[in-house]
């Protein structure tokens, strides 16, 4: 697992959450590229430019749901409009404070999007991260 070059895009308006997620990824993997965005719009533009992903492995997008301006829902909707060639190079994982118990409606709503792979509930822990990496590799 350590040899695979994982690459990540973090989309989260919270500076703290971006920092924590990035650090977690860097401390859990030796070989990793992490690109954080505080704004979903900027992330989308970046993806359009880097249509083949940013690593050798499909790039994992860790997406927050509740953001001012373009929300996670808006982002997923726009992402599904991109060409399948681009979409195939990315995996969308939702990283949110919302949970099945606290907000089942929004979680069910986001899981209905084809491109959404799974949902991870904040706060991030090393166990959650390792489980995710096992699942996608």
């Amino acid at each position: 697992m350590m040899n695979i070059e994982f690459s990540f895009i973090i989309v989260d308006d919270s500076e703290l959450d971006c920092y924590v997620t990035k650090k977690f990824l860097e401390l859990t993997n030796d070989n990793v590229i992490v690109k954080p965005f505080h704004n979903a719009n900027d992330a989308l533009k970046f993806i359009q430019k880097n249509d083949s992903g940013i690593g050798t492995f499909p790039t994992i997008i860790l997406l927050d749901l509740q953001m001012p301006g373009m929300t996670g829902f808006n982002f997923v909707e726009e992402f599904e409009k991109l060409s399948t060639a681009i979409q195939e190079n990315y995996i969308v994982i939702i990283l949110t404070v919302l949970s099945f118990t606290s907000d089942p409606n929004n979680i069910q709503r986001i899981l209905r999007y084809r491109v959404v792979n799974s949902v991870i509930e904040k706060p991030l822990t090393q166990e959650k991260l390792l489980e995710l990496l096992n699942q996608v590799s």
Partner: protein, 361 residues
Amino acid sequence: MDEKIKILYVDDEPENLVGFKASLRLDYQIITATSVPEGISCLNNHPDIRIIFCDQRMPGKTGVDFFEDIRVSHPLPVRIMLTAYTDVESIIDAINKGNIFRFVKKPWTETDIVLAIEEANKFYMATSMLAIKNKELQAAYDELTKFAYSVSHDIRGPLVGVLGGINLAGLIDNVAEMRDLLAVMKIAVIKLDTYALSMHDYYTLQKGLLKITAIDFNAVIDAMKTMYSLTSKANNVDFKINVEQDEVFVSDKITLKIIIGNLLSNAFKYQDKTKTNKLVELRVEVNNGMATIYVTDTGIGIVESHLGEIFNLFFRSNSTEVGSGIGLYNVKNALFKLNGEIQVNSVLNEGTTFKVTIPSL
């Protein structure tokens, strides 16, 4: 009484209308109609009609029909039926369908009518007070719903962020890295604290009584200056203060501080970090019992389409620097208490000026 109670009387016999009007017009404002459609148009033209008298026996529609027709469209006026005979059927009908307050038997005496009007007016006042109270309750309930949403999102978000930071700290051995993490966590905790403080302002404004004293604007601002001078230095923002007060100004100090404090805090918070000459200017002029306060910044500005909404609870105009959405709402409520007004002038990417006018109390 400042204004006469407005009363509508509907009767198909003009002589009844004339008699009614003649004996009551001195004490009440009487509007008359000879048919149901005319009565309805009177109600539309005078939404402040409090009491309706109607004859039961009319060609076409009866009084009961009339009251039934207007039950939904004009629910507020109190209805009184005039009837020449004790027709039990029509009385039961009227009560069930027309929402009748009471009956007056024909031929009526002036005493009967005046008594009916006075009672109906009391009933009207009680019901409309209830409607106002209901409206206030609904507004409070809506606010509560917004607060519940805010607690789950605005408070839980940063808290879970801090928790994530604590989880991450377990993996960090390097002291420098740990310090970096703590610095980012600190920002989140300060944001939470700011949120809690604006909640306290909200509570103060909702519950607190005004404490009226003579205000020395220089002293009020001096007390706040220290805090903002630090922000000013840390963020490289020039801070200018100019107070012109030659007369006594009477107001509530705490409420004034909430107004000035929130405007200043926004002016510093929403600066354009890319600009070299950053400025926040506070100007106070007291003239002829009126204080005018200007807070001007060279910040990012507000999109014109948002200007109407910035004073709403939990409204946030900006996407990068996340505020609590309570500050300007508190300013609006504070100004309401002091009978003041606020105007905003903003140019995107250039800056914003808030102009506040407050009368001496």
